[in-house]
């Protein structure tokens, strides 16, 4: 009997200590962690939109659109939102900025990816291209969205809605185009129906 009581007392004491320690840890670190996330989000938005003074949030059923605006100006400078989908090895998450009329992309930035190092990772930066390591994401600046984005292999693209695939990583390149085409269309529908 005595052992069982001892067992219960000791375990309860340890659990209470743990719980107490962790809840004070939570209140100490949670704001900091939220702040870090906010910083990352703001940095990503700033990268894909032209200069803005503030942004409004427009929530759709599946995503959040960040509407960048200048002080005193009604018309937004651009709309930024996250897009995500399956790449070659796993999930790719991008922040894309588009013109308010959804006619073209302002800029695209890959936030998360787990593509093949050295090949698929060129969607972020290509160290093997000494002149312009950011050549792949830069193709999206000013990319026309109507007709939908097309991926061209091996040749330089001729039309304004085409981008060149990464040699050896055509699946990753095509995945990016597919994700963008699908989700920009979805966001456009939701935003224009507001």
């Amino acid at each position: 009997m005595k052992t069982i009581v001892k067992m219960i007392v000791v375990l309860t004491a340890i659990s209470l200590l743990s719980g107490g320690l962790l809840s004070s840890l939570d209140s100490y670190t949670a704001p900091r962690i939220a702040e870090n996330r906010m910083k990352q989000l703001k940095a990503a938005i700033a990268e894909v939109l032209p200069k803005y003074d503030y942004y409004d949030e427009f929530k759709t059923k599946t995503s959040v659109i960040y509407v960048g605006k200048l002080n005193g100006v009604e018309e937004p400078v651009g709309l930024a939102f996250k897009t995500a989908g399956n790449g070659f090895q796993g999930k790719i998450v991008m922040m894309v900025g588009v013109k308010p009329d959804f006619s073209e992309v302002i800029k695209m930035r890959v936030l998360e990816q787990v593509e093949t190092p050295g090949l698929g990772t060129k969607i972020v930066v290509d160290p093997s291209n000494k002149e312009n390591p950011l050549w792949f994401p830069e193709q999206f600046e000013g990319l026309i969205l109507n007709p939908a984005i097309e991926v061209i292999k091996n040749l330089k693209p001729e039309k304004d809605n085409q981008i060149q695939a990464i040699a050896g990583a055509t699946i990753s390149s095509q995945a990016i185009a597919n994700i963008l085409n699908e989700q920009i269309a979805e966001v456009k529908r939701a935003y224009e129906a507001r």
């Binding site: 052992t3 001892k6 000791v10 375990l11 840890l25 939570d26 670190t29 190092p117």
Partner: protein, 202 residues
């Protein structure tokens, strides 16, 4: 051997070679393979693990005479998991980049057999001083292996060590070193080398 004479120092030193947790006891293999794609990650992971090991060793050694035997494993686990949560949250709050790189492997320190193993085998049976030395020794041994593994994989896989460019432009990185196969191969060879050295000594 000279070091066995001074028993206290040996409690520390044994973790570095004779009873190196990864290469000899084959504990903590999961993080040793997963987060050693760069030297910095290997260093961060071993420091986080060391923090958890040291703190839980001290606490468990403190209460070793009060905790009943039947619930000791459950008790150890709660204590270890608590310190892991602290380490994880601390990294996420103050070093978000490292936290992202190490990913789910920080919480997985909870099941790092190295930690539970040391508590069960040592800290629950020795005083605080000895337990601290044991933990510090094991951490150092763990750190050496993870940093060396990380440095090798980073050097051959990206041409850098701790982010500093070492190999010049002439070097075409061996991508495989950053990927799972590279981790397995490098660890296998390291184990082989250690066995070779030990056999020659014996």
């Amino acid at each position: 051997m000279a070091r066995k004479k001074n028993k206290l120092t040996y409690e520390f030193l044994k973790g570095i070679w004779d009873e190196n947790p990864v290469l000899i006891s084959l504990l903590g293999l999961c993080p040793a393979l997963a987060v050693t794609n760069s030297a910095t990650n290997g260093l961060a992971m071993s420091l986080a693990t060391g923090f958890v090991l040291l703190c839980s060793s001290i606490l468990i050694s403190l209460i070793r005479k009060i905790i009943p035997s039947q619930v000791r494993i459950a008790g150890f686990i709660v204590i270890i998991a608590t310190f892991v949560t602290i380490a994880d949250r601390y990294l996420a709050a103050f070093f978000p980049a490292i936290s992202k790189d190490l990913g789910p492997f920080v919480p997985l320190i909870v099941v790092n057999c190295l930690i539970l193993g040391r508590q069960e085998a040592f800290s629950s049976k020795n005083n605080i001083g000895r337990s601290m030395l044991d933990s510090l020794g094991m951490t150092t041994g763990f750190l050496f292996v993870l940093v060396i593994l990380g440095a090798i994989r980073e050097l051959l896989g990206s041409g850098t060590v701790f982010g500093l460019e070492i190999m010049g432009d002439w070097f075409n990185p061996w991508m495989v070193m950053i990927l799972p196969p590279g981790a397995f191969f490098t660890l296998g060879i390291l184990i082989g080398i250690v066995n070779l050295i030990n056999n020659k000594r014996a």
